[in-house]
């Protein structure tokens, strides 16, 4: 029997098409995934992301523990509320999971990890927390809503009432406890907005109030096309335990300095960097026919082969786009094998869309642009 979020009955009542996802019963869409996608780009939409796992770490050693656990450095978090995106690595430098770490107060941090990797992550965190003085608490008592889009903040402010001023002061990638909620200016769509962590019993009331304020319910389908347009990696597709951050466009999340910080996977990453990384992550804009999909083979003239790690149709661009891992010396074009045919694709730099704006040149000519995935 799959798990249900506190909003399950709201989804069913709202006409959602429910699907199995990572052991959870989740809404795929409420009628049209494409319409929901556009709603987020143009106005405001909300996603039930209560299936993600919230883990609180408390104790005097919470900070030193996270400096060991994460390839990014939580010493960058000095102001309470500030958040950091990064990866937990294994000893080989492979990605155990990607996550957001929030600094709540000294000795108090919160992690949000993926739903599909929940048990593995919790085992990993608890195992490595053992030598440290830190309590690990899974917050299954919290629901989580992502409200995203150009109008998202203003609509959340309406619902927050007295807390609106405090929320309006939050800088990007910061969060705060406001009126019994944890409100964070983070997201996964390339739009502005908030992620709200709410006591489970109150989630339904917040969902209803946000709907009344003009925020459209959106399913996991739109969340995936939005994040792909935003050029953001998806765990299990663009990265996994066999791929290092240097190979999937997340090199920017590795804090090499100070050199004395011995995070898990550091030695393997340093060895890889010294030997030279042979593959890199790029964006693809399909010029041929069809749709790019995860797992399709990529041919780079004169350099070898790669793979589409995430692919799909971009509702904003009206074209098929993808993320791919390719030989590091990739040029301006490649070919992708789609059902036995080779179709031409242009190499572009993600994101494809950010804050509602198309960021790639859709014209025919080569862009000549190359680079790493940019971060928040």
């Amino acid at each position: 029997m799959s798990r249900r979020t506190p909003l399950h009955d709201h989804h069913v009542a709202g006409g959602a098409r429910m699907v199995e996802f990572a052991g959870w019963r989740m809404p795929l869409h409420y009628g049209s995934q494409v319409e929901e996608h556009h709603r987020v780009r143009r106005e405001a939409g909300m996603f039930d992301v209560s299936h993600m796992t919230i883990v609180d770490l408390e104790g005097p050693a919470a900070r030193p523990f996270l400096r060991r656990l994460l390839a990014n450095d939580v010493d960058r978090l000095q102001v309470p509320g500030k958040a950091l995106y990064g990866c937990m690595l294994n000893e080989r430098g492979g990605v155990v999971d990607d996550l957001i770490a929030y600094f709540l107060a000294e000795g108090r941090f919160r992690l949000v990890v993926n739903a599909a990797t929940r048990e593995k992550d919790l085992d990993w965190i608890r195992r490595h927390a053992a030598p440290f003085e830190v309590a690990v608490t899974v917050r299954d008592d919290l629901a989580m809503l992502a409200v995203q889009g150009p109008a998202a903040r203003e609509r959340v402010h309406r619902v927050l009432g007295a807390g609106a001023d405090a929320a309006a002061r939050l800088a990007p990638f910061h969060g705060a406890e406001i009126g019994g909620l944890f409100v964070a200016r983070t997201g996964y769509t390339g739009e502005d907005g908030y992620e709200l962590m709410i006591p489970a019993a109150e989630a339904g009331a917040w969902w209803d109030r946000l709907r009344e304020a003009g925020v459209a319910p959106c399913g996991l389908g739109a969340r995936d096309t939005l994040r792909l347009e935003a050029g953001m990696c998806l765990y299990g597709q663009d990265m996994d335990e066999e791929v290092t951050p240097l190979e999937c466009g997340l090199g920017w999340t590795v804090a090499w300095e100070p050199a004395s910080r011995a995070f898990i996977g550091r030695e393997a990453l340093e060895a890889q960097r010294a030997a030279g990384v042979t593959v890199r992550a790029v964006g693809l804009l399909l010029e041929g026919r069809g749709v790019l999909r995860h797992g399709q083979k990529v041919y780079v003239p004169g350099q070898g082969e790669g793979v589409v790690t995430s692919g799909g149709f971009s509702p904003t661009l009206g074209r098929s786009i993808g993320l791919a891992r390719v030989p590091v010396r990739v040029g301006t074009h490649c070919e992708v094998e789609i059902r036995g045919r080779r179709e031409r694709a242009r190499i572009v730099k993600p994101p494809f869309v950010r804050h509602g704006r198309v960021m790639v040149d859709l014209g025919g000519g080569p862009s000549g642009e190359e680079g790493e995935q940019s971060g928040e």
Binding site: V34, G221, R289, V291, F313, S320
Partner: protein, 130 residues
């Protein structure tokens, strides 16, 4: 419940078939199938002149989330394809039995496969939903 017109014939793999007066057959995917797939973004059609066997995969419909094969309901030769779908794959969502048709077969061998009537297809859809 999705629309299942009484005058058409159906396959268990969710194609519909309209038998024309000249013996040719027009093929599309059912309302139920398009509902399950969601927003279609690309349709790949067979080449005109290709001979297909009953049950052979000969077209692909891609939704936002995945690609799905479309099978020839009966044996025949591809006489015509719906070129309008190249620029407007969403016609399959909007009008699956009309402007969203996929291809036409001539020299169709109606005895080459079992086709369901509307009632039998409805029972098949209901059995898959349980």
């Amino acid at each position: 419940m999705s629309d299942i017109p009484a005058q058409l014939r159906y396959t268990r793999s969710h194609e519909w078939v309209r038998i024309e007066d000249d013996g040719s057959v027009v093929v599309g995917i059912t309302d139920h199938a398009q509902e399950q797939l969601g927003d279609l973004v690309f349709v790949e059609l067979p080449e005109v002149g290709r001979r297909v066997a009953a049950g052979e995969d000969c077209a692909v419909v891609e939704s936002v989330k995945a690609a799905s094969d479309v099978y020839a309901p009966v044996a025949g030769e591809v006489a015509e394809v719906n070129g309008e779908l190249e620029g407007s794959p969403e016609l399959v969502n909007q009008d699956p039995y009309g402007r969203g048709w996929l291809f036409r077969l001539r020299d169709a061998d109606l005895g080459s496969a079992e086709l369901l009537d509307a009632e039998a297809y409805r029972a098949h859809v209901e059995s898959e939903e349980h």
